[in-house]
């Protein structure tokens, strides 16, 4: 679940924060303990709301003075009017939802952009485990064994880019994270995580600052 954080996760928060405009309105889907939301409030003066299912995580968000809706992402999104937010964030939660197409569609209905962060299941460590050990990968960025993982979707960076093309999603920016920060070389092989800022194809490109590179 989102409560589990490693050092890499802190970098992804900083990169997402770098993608958000000052004083933007933001919805964080699967907001966990609210760490990213807090960063956006402090760093960007953003007006942020979150959706989270876990009881303890919801309490943690309220502890941080954040606005949070307890519920699942799908039902939580439905009630927001079109264009309620500048950005909708789906960080490390897309791989846990079944209706990916629907959620991203809904996110781009209620927000102008959607920022998606997900683990790259085609990372070299995963490939190594599958190829040489013949086992489902358990790696530092994919720590769960097959029977305990909350993930229901297993995609690579290349899969996701194909998905964006087929669904008419415009990639405004993509940042790839390896073991030692961002990288640009062969991301599908070396990136553990990827973060995309997307809008609908044909939408006028919303202005956004360059991502804060680490």
């Amino acid at each position: 679940m989102r409560g589990e954080r490693n050092m890499e996760a802190r970098i992804d928060h900083r990169i997402i924060c770098g993608m958000i405009r000052e004083r933007a309105t933001v919805l964080d889907l699967g907001c966990g303990n609210g760490d990213l939301m807090s960063l956006l409030v402090r760093g960007k003066g953003a007006s942020v709301q979150g959706i989270e299912l876990d009881d303890e995580a919801v309490q943690r968000c309220v502890e941080k003075g954040l606005t949070v809706f307890q519920g699942d992402i799908e039902s939580g999104l439905a009630d927001y009017p079109d264009g309620s937010f500048d950005d909708v964030i789906l960080n490390q939660s897309m791989q846990e939802v079944k209706k990916v197409d629907f959620i991203i569609g809904e996110s781009l209905r209620v927000g102008k952009r959607v920022i998606v962060g997900f683990p790259n299941f085609a990372h070299i460590c995963s490939r190594w485990t599958v190829f040489f050990r013949g086992k489902a990968p358990v790696t530092p960025h994919l720590p769960h064994s097959w029977d305990e993982t909350p993930n229901v979707r297993f995609m690579s960076i290349r899969d996701f880019e194909d998905f964006c093309r087929s669904k008419g999603l415009r990639v405004l920016e993509a940042v790839y994270l390896g073991a030692r920060g961002t990288l640009t070389c062969c991301p599908n092989l070396f990136a553990r995580n990827a973060i995309y800022a997307l809008s609908r194809q044909g939408d006028r490109e919303p202005a956004f600052p360059p991502a804060g590179r680490e």
């Binding site: 409560g3 303990n33 303890e56 009017p81």
Partner: protein
Amino acid sequence: MSEGNVGLTGTKEFTFGEPPDVVTLESGRKIGPVTVAYETYGRLNEDRSNAILICHALSGDAHAAGYHEGETAPGWWDAMIGPGKAFDTDRYFVICSNVIGGCKGSTGPSSPNPQTGKPYALDFPVITVSDMVNVQRYLIDHLGIDRLFCVAGGSMGGMQALQWVSSYPERVMSAIPVATTLKHSPQQIAFDEVIRQSIMGDPAWRKGNYYDHGQPQNGLSVARMIGHITFMSDTSMEAKFSRKLKNGGYGFSLEDDFEVEGYLRYRGDSFVKRFDANSYLYITKAMDYFDLSGDLFLPGKQRVDSRFLVISFTSDWLYPSSQSLDIVRALKRRRIAATYCELKSTWGHDAFLVEVAEETRLITNFLRGITATLSPLHHDFPGSRNHETAASPAENRRVS
């Protein structure tokens, strides 16, 4: 943080609306003078910005916290109101008043009608939740408070909190509606109607004119028994009573064999001693009339800055989570920030009075969050975690 008790408290009275300045009710009928019974705990700060209004439920009263002289039971929400508690009287000035139509010091059907000198009985005008809130507004004016830091309450108290932000959005900084609804559903109206019929069907009710003869005991007792069933859950009743027998075996008579029967009878009988039957009729009617659905909730296009914490409980079937979600949905449509939390509980509707620990954690932090947004330079609350700059090790712990 250590928790304390507000100690010895007493109910005060404020009377207003002396003719000709009588109060006009939602029905258009007029009433005056009106007395409102209230209690306060804690201190109003210099800029009068720390006042919290607590609204009581159907059978509650102004005595929300502390002890009355000579009594052993504390106020009805004592677990939540006091030094170091959710509504921390070291920080906030907490007010609780008895609703109009009630029988615990505020003007209601059992109060003397100034025209006759006898109790109003059914000459008392039918009141609504909006009338309850208007009367509270007179009290808040009297106390010199322009804007309430928070209005909070469970069940009918939650309805009043929602009515406050609808009637006076600019006077409410935040609202905490707990285990409540935007409108009474047909099921809720149906229960209230059965409750009313059981009172009115008792010959001792005498069309409301029973004050010289005593309460319609049977009717009022059955009315309360029905209420108590709706406040519990299947699970909480199983845990509390199961099929336990009072005397170890069946009596093969129509006496109360089961503990649950004894409990309901006891609750019914003790209610007769403390609550006026006509007040029960009027207040249930006010709840049935309550409807802030559609454009009635937060009417007009004006910007609403009030912050919301909506709480429901998983086993509450009288005011189910779906009704709280309707509140949140209405807020989302108006783009108003609302925190919603469904607390896990087996206590049914009673949970809002019983689930103190989780409720306290939520409410304490929600109120601190609002204080922090008001004064971004002064987060001097001990133990406050609103503005931590780095995640503590505990934050990194797995939460599930």
